[in-house]
């Protein structure tokens, strides 16, 4: 049984039919990426899975349970954590306070301290800036914080929305290395990315979205070789 199974999900923004029957699966231990152009429905898919948007039709099965009607905060308790687009950190709180917010639902102090230590090992930069106000950090550091904070709820599935957005190439590489590392430590990752090149390098499998529909799915290696993907998303003629 797959960890996450999305079956024929339709979602709307008002009258706009944003997702026209999305189906995808994420197996335990995988990194799966959704690639596609602007407005293809990548973020909408992620918002629907994370409960911020309710699907009008279709089912979302997580660990055997239909979670389509759950709201975002309930899914955190179920083990799904999201790194929102544009980082979405609490800009006025310090790094430490942000991380504490990430563990909001947990009560095991020892476990929280352990995970905090792990986040700081993953991102030594955050440890140096523990008491800095998050909004005053650089974009890359904010992204690290957003990822670190999502890990604090000890998720079994990590949803990431455009982690490379607006970052310098060096930092993008660092972030993707970390995502791989997180995955190797046992967290399943569903990654939405415009930077298809980077995403396909670390992912096991990928789905290509176009105007609210999945047009292609394959292993990441195959997708990298696919001529349409190369032309449309990898910039290879």
């Amino acid at each position: 049984m797959a960890l996450l199974e999305v079956n024929d999900v339709h979602a709307y923004y008002g009258y706009i039919h944003a997702l026209k029957g999305i189906s995808l699966t994420v197996e335990k231990g995988e990194i799966v990426t959704l690639i596609g152009g602007n407005g293809a429905g990548k973020t909408t898919t992620l918002r629907t899975i994370s409960g911020l948007l309710k699907p009008r039709h279709g089912s979302i099965i997580f660990e055997g349970e239909d979670i389509a009607q759950y709201r975002a905060h309930q899914l955190v308790a179920k083990g799904i954590s999201m790194v929102p687009e544009g980082r979405g950190i609490f800009a006025k709180l310090t790094v430490l306070e942000n991380l504490e917010m990430g563990a909001y639902l947990r009560k095991d102090k020892d476990g929280i301290a352990k995970d905090m230590k792990r986040v700081f090992e993953l991102f030594p930069r955050l440890a140096e800036r523990k008491n800095q106000v998050a909004g005053t950090m650089s974009g890359g550091e904010q992204q690290m914080l957003a990822i670190g904070r999502a890990l604090m709820s000890r998720p079994r599935l990590l949803l990431m929305d455009e982690p490379s957005m607006g970052l310098a190439p060096v930092l993008v590489e660092l972030i993707f290395d970390t995502i791989e590392e997180i995955n190797k430590a046992g967290t399943t990752v569903l990654l939405v990315e415009q930077n298809a090149h980077m995403a396909l390098q670390i992912a096991h499998r990928g789905y290509v979205l176009q105007t609210g529909e999945i047009v292609l799915s394959n292993t990441a290696k195959e997708l990298q070789k696919d001529p349409t993907v190369q032309k449309a998303y990898l910039g290879i003629e």
Binding site: S50, G51, L52, R71, A72, H73, Q74, V76, A77, S81, M82, P84, G88, I89, F90, A91, K92, L93, E100, M101, G102, Y104, L105, P124, R125, E128, R129, N131, Q132, V133, G135, T136, R149, A150, S153, V170
Partner: protein, 564 residues
């Protein structure tokens, strides 16, 4: 700057005329004339004059504010003189125009008395010259203030504000000092409800000396305060409480009444602070909870024909609070999906609905309509009756202490965290596992509680309630005091309530211009001190954090290099 030695006429004229127009404006709307009735320093300065003169002082200060060090003092002073002269022109135009034509047909407030004030009571010709001269002097003063070394300037400004403040509140000081020091002392220091000149000089010197001393010893005192042990701390709080307890008997009836009003607004401020300051839900209809608390109290305790049950105050008090909380809860349900502006408009409507219902003929058989509810008895414990403002004070004080205690506990709790996260970003808060629906409903419900408490006390304090007591202005007042005090800060609410409720009450001249002053004050606050008078730690960090961050950035920078 390349312009050293040359005068930037355009800039000077602009600042001068702007100040002049400001002075013209306050004159024409009648503020100067009304304020001139309050003398600050006997025979020397009235509040109206202070208002007039502060414009050229500010203009002079601004005219040289951006100049660099290389300019000579004499040159800067010259600029002040020029700016000041220009600032007099609009007023001179007004004087001449008022002499030539009757302006009162259009500007009711341009009275002969106002013109007399403007020309220093000396007739047109001499008056115009005096106006020019005073403009030049005040403009120069503005420059002098700028030229002073930073420390001296701070000390002088603090001294000036305290002196002027003491002059302004002379009537209050007389009331407080008379029983303490006797009439002889009052006659010695005050005259005609204002400070005598020598007394104001003494106040100025005393305050400057104290401030100077304080600036030297501040750090020392602060560390000493921080190092107090719990017993000493408790003793300090005990002394503070004792002062609060005997306060109404020192201040007398009138000032206790003022204090009661401030207290009621502190109560409401603390309540609204939960919704606005902590949870970030802009509620413009807060008066509704106040009204509901008051009406429930009135209805169930009144001995008039409208009264139901004639219950005891203490029985109805929790019912009032519960009723207000229920209203807050019910309001929260329809607005769950609204944010920002939409939420503000809806809550505004809610407040008006409650007021209009109270006023309506439909409900008048039950709650009295425009006639209101009469004969609400005073609360009592045993044989002690909370009869006058001095007794009611204790009730309000107890309410405030309770509300402060609850608020501060909430502030530091998981619930407080929850609200803070929601205020910052609802979606992200939900992604942290926070139930935003629950926290919103909780914020509205808890926020309504102290509004209901304030309303209940208000009803039994006055003994009668009318729908027109519950207008939009109360909501605006409460919101303004939170903003002025500092969003989300508990001491800020107290400071804001004193600034916005006590001051207008004590300076009755202000009453007519209260809204104008609120507007002006809010604009000035947003420009000069957006974090509020006594901000909470998070907001201070957000809006005034530059120094702190620069230091941290400095520490972080070399580390960042090695990390790369």
């Amino acid at each position: 700057m390349a312009k050293t030695g040359r005068i930037d006429w355009r800039q000077l004229i602009r600042y001068g005329l702007l100040a002049g127009v400001a002075a013209l404006y306050v004159s024409v709307i009648g503020m100067v004339e009304v304020f001139s009735q309050r003398s600050l320093i006997t025979g020397v300065l009235t509040l109206g004059q202070l208002l007039l003169f502060s414009a050229p002082v500010l203009a002079g200060y601004l005219a040289v504010y951006k100049d660099d060090e290389s300019q000579t003092a004499a040159f800067s002073l010259l600029k002040g003189v020029i700016t000041g002269l220009f600032s007099s022109l609009p007023l001179i135009a007004l004087v001449l125009l008022a002499n030539a034509v009757n302006l009162r047909a259009m500007f009711v407030n341009v009275s002969p008395a106002l013109i007399d004030i403007l020309v220093f009571g000396q007739g047109t010709a001499v008056g115009v010259l005096l106006l020019l001269l005073s403009g030049a002097i005040w403009g120069t003063l503005g420059v002098i203030i700028h030229l002073l070394p930073d420390k001296t300037r701070h000390v002088v400004l603090v001294g000036l504000s305290w002196t002027l403040g003491a002059g302004m509140l002379s009537e209050l000081l007389i009331q407080v000092f008379r029983p303490l020091f006797g009439s002889g002392f009052i006659r010695f220091v005050f005259q005609g409800g204002a400070l005598k000149l020598w007394a104001s000089i003494v106040v100025f010197i005393l305050v400057t000396l104290l401030d100077w001393y304080w600036s030297k010893r501040r750090e020392e005192v602060k560390t000493k305060m921080a190092n107090l042990n719990p017993t000493q701390r408790r003793a300090g709080m005990g002394v503070g409480l004792l002062i609060l307890l005997i306060l109404p008997w020192i201040l007398g009836t009138y000032l206790s009444e003022v204090l009661d009003n401030v207290g009621l607004f502190i109560l409401m401020g603390l309540g609204l602070n939960i919704a606005v300051g902590l949870a970030g839900l802009l509620d413009l209809g807060y008066v509704a909870t106040f009204a509901i608390g008051a009406y429930v109290m009135g209805l169930f305790t009144s001995t008039s024909s409208l009264g139901v049950g004639e219950l005891n105050f203490w029985i109805v008090l929790p019912i009032s609070i519960l009723a207000a909380m229920t209203a807050g809860f019910l309001l929260a349900l329809p607005v769950l999906h609204m944010r920002g502006d939409y939420l503000a408009i809806t809550t505004l409507g809610f407040g008006e609905i409650i007021r209009i219902l109270a006023l309506s003929d439909w409900l008048s058989p039950i709650i009295g309509g425009a006639q209101g509810i009469l004969a609400i008895p005073k609360p009592q414990i045993g044989s002690f009756v909370f009869r006058g403002p001095q007794e009611i004070y204790y009730l309000i004080l107890a309410g405030c202490i309770l509300a402060i205690f609850v608020s501060s506990r909430l502030n530091n709790s998981r619930t407080g965290r929850q609200w803070m996260a929601m205020r910052e970003d609802e979606d992200v808060a939900a992604a942290m596992g926070i139930d935003t629906t629950k926290s919103k409903v909780l914020a509205f419900t808890l926020s309504a509680a102290s509004g209901g408490l304030a309303g209940a006390i208000f009803a039994s304090k006055l003994g009668t309630i009318f729908p027109h007591s519950f207008n939009l202005l109360i909501s605006i007042n409460v919101l303004s005091l939170i903003i002025v005090g500092g969003m989300g800060s508990l001491p800020g609410v107290v400071v804001g309530a004193f600034a916005l409720v006590a001051l207008p009450e004590l300076l009755r001249e202000f009453a007519e211009y209260r809204l104008l002053l609120y507007g002006a004050l809010l604009i000035v606050m947003m420009l000069a001190r957006p974090e509020g008078l006594w901000p909470s730690a998070v907001r201070r960090r957000e809006l005034k954090g530059t120094e702190e961050e620069e230091i941290e950035g400095g520490e972080g920078a070399p580390v960042a290099v090695t990390a790369d």
